[in-house]
Symmetry: C2
Subunit: 142 residues, 2 copies
DNA sequence: TTCAATTAGTTGCTACATCTACTATCTGAT
DNA sequence: ATCAGATAGTAGATGTAGCAACTAATTGAA
């Protein structure tokens, strides 16, 4: 059948993801937050004191990634990392005052981003999109 | 409204993209091709002798990226880079014999990947998915 | 209780992705 | 003909993404 380049849905998906990521990156730049760093912050704003391991599970990411992003967030002064007393291998992440204050600024940006992306797309269409993405993920499991 | 984490369609999109990319990466590993390197090869299999600049346009990627990936492909022996005679700034990419032979092996892998991803998804659903992705991209233009 | 297996985190490696700044070349207006 | 501005490519920097190999701490079974 000889598919041409544009026919691969995964390529379209990838390009869309890159475009959205680069857009949100620009939106977050003024707050000195990178997109994935922001995801960690969003989880911490909901629940302080999670360990890196827990974050890795929530975000479905490699622990290596989380470690480096957490380290960067600490350097930026948004979080502190303390060794857990019950399990001295684990690092718990706590918001600093600066990190806590960031929430008021960044959450509206995230919601505005979501509104912009989904503009003119109905709830049903979003559900259908979610369903198809889930299906594609399941298709390549195992 | 306070969206929770899973409600952002862009996060789902990102996670799906990562999953697909890591899957295709594993599929291509035996051929010593990374996913994005493979995209360059696919274009060259269609049309030999494109410049890095043309590839960047086709793939909608930064020229820096293309330069580095092309350099890697050259190191692997799949392509040769020759300065264009009409415009000595431009580098034209040509397949080596090894790169040309790779096509027979890799194209079936790419099509099998696409088949796996889209299994159980109808043509209409794929069109709808494509339409929604396009809409999301357009939503954040300008 | 003690030692092997497991677990949390880090370091090093490869591969994107994109920005800025740079070199070399080309083009066009004067 | 010449020089300013545009263009193709490279180098360096930052931020993902995930694998392999490592350390340190914990756990569980003999």
């Amino acid at each position: 059948m000889n598919l041409s380049f544009q026919d691969y849905i995964s390529i379209k998906l990838h390009q869309t993801d890159l475009k959205l990521t680069s857009y949100v990156k620009a939106q977050l730049q003024p707050y000195n937050l990178a997109p994935e760093q922001n995801l960690i912050m969003m989880l911490l704003w909901e629940k302080d004191g999670m360990t890196q391991n827990q974050l890795a599970h929530h975000l479905k990411k490699d622990k290596t990634n989380i470690a480096r992003m957490a380290s960067n967030l600490e350097k930026k002064g948004f979080i502190k990392r303390n060794f857990c007393t019950e399990d001295r291998r684990s690092l718990e992440l706590y918001l600093t005052e600066e990190g806590r204050e960031l929430k008021e600024q960044v959450v509206p940006v995230a919601e505005a981003f979501n509104d912009a992306v989904t503009e003119g797309i109905s709830k049903e269409e979003l559900q259908e999109l979610d369903r198809l993405l889930t299906k594609m993920q399941n298709n390549i499991e195992g």
